[in-house]
């Protein structure tokens, strides 16, 4: 019996030992909720995450959420405050919807503790991207290296074949589309060309079609003109823009399936030699070009400046902002986190904003994933560029967690390393020739304002969404545009605009 007791004691002691040791030097654990994409993994065990744990002496626990159902997951996460992890990475407006959930970071960002963050966020222009309606910093954003995200591109070889000159205005573009449709550039004897085709992207099916209206100086929804917030869908200029879109749609110049076209179907239209022009992320100039790699098609895809509208405006407005507030990268710290966790999280953010952290997250480990040539230029190694497992360069990088969801500071060298000269040329054209119009900021609302938006704007949004498509597709005549405007106003647009104007004024410090 005594023996048994002794053994039991020993077992107990042994089992308690790890606990005793643990308390002394245990690293702080911070958990991160973040989107996990097939081509952009964010999981425990990624090389970069392991390295960050070693470098910073913390433990990182990633709670991956599948990107397909992020909105659902986020809503469910926030329905249960007890389960919210230390850090949540998501879109700015979604984070700000629950602003009471996040730490105010104003005092944590200073010259001594977080010099790298301070360098960026001491700039009031940058700071307002990450602030709530009272002007407090609520999250850390991803700093982008480039501003030109999306652009227009078309098949130069078709223009050459039909001896057409490059269009520069919306009217010329319409003529060009017609010529393409009738000129049979793919030479199959059928008028099966689709001069303009876009893929459906995300929840806004028209995302890649509506930038045409930018040439009229407006946006589809909210935009600011001389510091007055306006709603594009009911603007008088929208009627003209819709008339143009409808004219093209009726003539078969715009893809009739723009509402539902998946990326694959869009790709197959290109490979079937049907598409002339499109609008998408800049890298798609290369992606589309690569589709023809193994064919003998004379395809030549070039980027083009936006077409000028009736008043000469040639801009796109949905470009990248200095902080990517619209993307899933913005990181907020939960108010329920312990002081140590907050400190560890700030340490992590500051490191990610440092030169060293930037290199690790954009390029990986020197000598292994990248190297520096004699001129000081960075280049990726063979392991990345010609991966032995046959992965594309990007996939090769991302399997290590390089360029992952944690990359808070992007580097222009990374952006340029992957894309062709044509993409770089077009990006420069947009950035340097003034083709990038003012983007409307992501505004922060008070609770009362949010109530008004929920009550009024949700239905307006649905109504506008479906009616715009009806106008474009000619299911409803543009004669009804004034009635449409009246209806939207009757649904409470003036109240919503007032809320937006107030939030905008706060944002701009007016």
């Amino acid at each position: 019996m005594k023996k048994l007791v002794r053994i039991l004691c020993l077992v107990l002691a042994l089992s308690l030992m790890p606990l005793a040791f643990a308390s002394a030097d245990d690293p702080v654990t911070i958990s991160i909720w973040a989107s996990d994409r097939e081509n952009m993994p964010m999981r425990n065990g990624l090389m970069t995450i392991n390295m960050l744990q070693d470098i910073l002496g913390i433990k990182i626990d990633v709670q991956s959420a599948p990107t397909e159902s992020l909105d659902e997951k986020y809503g469910l996460l926030m329905s249960d405050p007890a389960s919210i992890p230390t850090i949540v990475q998501y879109k700015a407006n979604k984070l700000l919807q629950y602003k009471e959930a996040w730490m105010i970071l104003d005092d944590y960002i200073n010259e001594t503790d977080t010099p790298n963050l301070w360098k960026v966020y001491s700039d009031p222009v940058i700071r307002r991207y990450v602030s709530d309606s009272e002007g407090h910093i609520r999250f850390i954003g991803q700093r982008t290296a480039i501003t030109c995200g999306k652009l227009w591109f078309y098949r130069q070889d078709w223009l050459d074949k039909l001896q057409l000159k490059a269009p520069t205005t919306m009217e010329e573009l319409y003529e060009t589309f017609l010529a393409i449709k009738q000129g049979d550039p793919n030479g199959n004897g059928e008028a099966d060309e689709i001069p303009f085709s876009v893929r459906k992207q995300g929840s806004n099916n028209r995302a890649n079609l509506m930038p045409f209206v930018n040439s009229w100086g407006i946006e589809e929804t909210f935009f600011a003109e001389d510091d007055v917030v306006k709603f594009g869908a009911v603007d008088a200029r929208m009627k003209d823009a819709l008339a143009w879109l409808n004219k093209c749609y009726e003539a078969g110049l715009i893809d009739s399936e723009y509402l539902t076209l998946s990326k694959q179907d869009w790709y197959s239209r290109w490979t079937n030699e049907q598409v002339f022009m499109s609008y998408d992320w800049s890298a798609y100039i290369d992606n589309v070009g690569n589709l023809f790699k193994d064919t003998d098609s004379p395809v030549h895809i070039v980027g083009t400046a936006p077409m000028a509208g009736p008043t000469g405006i040639a801009q796109t407005r949905d470009q990248l902002q200095p902080i990517t507030v619209d993307e899933d990268w913005n990181a907020a710290i939960y108010v329920g986190a312990s002081e140590e966790q907050v400190k560890a999280a700030m340490k992590l953010f500051d490191y990610l904003y440092s030169e060293e952290g930037m290199l690790l997250l954009n390029f990986g480990v020197k000598g292994e994933h990248y190297d520096v040539d004699e001129n000081g230029n960075l280049y990726y190694t063979e392991l990345i560029m010609h991966n032995p497992d046959g992965l594309s360069a990007q996939d090769a990088l991302r399997q290590y967690g390089i360029q992952s969801m944690l990359t808070l500071l992007q580097d222009a060298r990374y952006e340029r390393a992957f894309v062709s000269d044509e993409v770089n040329r077009t990006r420069d054209l947009y950035e340097q020739e003034g083709h990038i119009g003012p983007a409307f900021p992501t505004l922060a609302f008070t609770d009362e304002e949010r109530d008004i938006i929920n009550e009024k704007y949700t239905d307006i949004e649905t109504y506008v969404n479906e009616t715009l498509d009806k106008f474009i597709m000619g299911r409803e005549s543009l004669d009804g545009f004034d009635a449409f405007v009246e209806q939207v106003n009757g649904m409470g647009l003036p109240e919503v605009l007032k809320v937006y104007q107030d939030a905008y004024n706060r944002y701009m410090g007016l």
Partner: protein, 306 residues
């Protein structure tokens, strides 16, 4: 006298102790997974905020209900939901009865078995796959349906963006998926009909159709009625997962149903209180329908669900 009654009840309860024991896990399930969430419906009357919690969220009474009834979409949602279900009820429900009747008349057992196997098959395909197949087949460029239309001299049509086509598409899709599977229960009911009745009918010189009309159909009527009552209880729900996958702005006019609306406002926009209020409205209508139809059925046909 009274005491003996009470003790008699206790004796009966004691006698059924093993049955209670058997039912206990099921009871726990219903209490925890079905009834406990119903307490959560209270958030429809509050401005629910997860950070304040159930108790501290302020009461707002019927604010969200009146918001829904005042929305320009209220009537459209109710109409769409009812119509989609009505289509299903009018076409798909009888279709599986007809299939069961046809199968019942087949005399070659092997053919019958193979036909059954084939018609059950679509049921095993998940809605994710089904929806993408529908979009693919209906595509105006290269879609199977449009290829056929064109080869017959018709004009390619973009069905998925036509509000007037949506209900037809959805109903046909469900017909394809469920007709075989739903016929099982009717086949079962048919096989339960007393064979002597058929013989009697044949002896009376009854033809095939007569037999079907006078014996088979009345024989399965109780099953049909019970299923119909259950179906009516779900007139306000519609498979919103599948509808969501088929929905786009252009067909919203007919494809937006209460389920997708609740999903959009509740899960995507996180307006829990509002969407719960709409959900309650949906449940109440369904509940009223099931009670009414059960009452009607009991009154006129002596068959009822309870």
């Amino acid at each position: 006298m009274r005491r003996t009654k009470v003790s008699a009840l206790w004796r009966r309860i004691w006698a059924a102790k093993y049955l209670y024991l058997m039912f206990f896990p099921v009871l726990l399930y219903y209490i925890f997974m079905r009834y406990a969430p119903m307490a959560g419906l209270v958030i429809a009357f509050k401005n629910y905020n997860a950070f304040a919690g159930f108790a501290k969220s302020p009461w707002v009474g019927f604010k969200y209900f009146s918001q829904f009834f005042n929305s320009i979409y209220c009537w459209r949602l109710i109409r769409n939901t009812l119509l989609i279900n009505l289509y299903d009820l009018v076409f798909n429900f009888p279709a599986s009865i007809v299939l069961a009747l046809l199968l019942n008349e087949v005399r070659q057992p092997r053919f019958k078995k193979v036909t059954q196997t084939i018609t059950y098959m679509p049921y095993f395909i998940s809605s994710v796959v089904l929806a993408s197949m529908v979009v693919q087949f209906l595509s105006p460029t290269g879609g199977l349906v449009n290829n056929i239309i064109e080869s017959m001299g018709g004009k390619r049509t973009y069905f998925m963006t036509q509000p007037e086509s949506f209900r037809t598409i959805y109903t046909l899709m469900n017909l394809w998926k469920n007709i075989g599977w739903n016929s099982i229960i009717f086949l079962a009911a048919i096989s339960g009909i007393n064979g002597e009745l058929y013989e009697a009918c044949t002896v009376d010189g009854g033809g095939h159709l007569r037999r079907m009309w006078h014996i088979t159909l009345p024989g399965i009527l109780p099953t049909v009625i019970v299923l119909l009552i259950m179906r009516l209880g779900h007139m306000m729900d519609a498979g919103y997962e599948t509808i969501l996958l088929l929905q786009n702005n252009a067909n919203l006019e007919t494809s937006d149903v209460i389920g997708t609306y609740v999903y959009r406002r509740g899960i995507l926009k996180n307006e829990y209180s509002y969407s719960t209020a709409v959900g309650i409205f949906q449940s109440v209508i369904g509940f009223v329908l099931v009670i009414a139809s059960n009452w009607l059925s009991r009154r006129f046909s002596e068959t009822s669900l309870w």
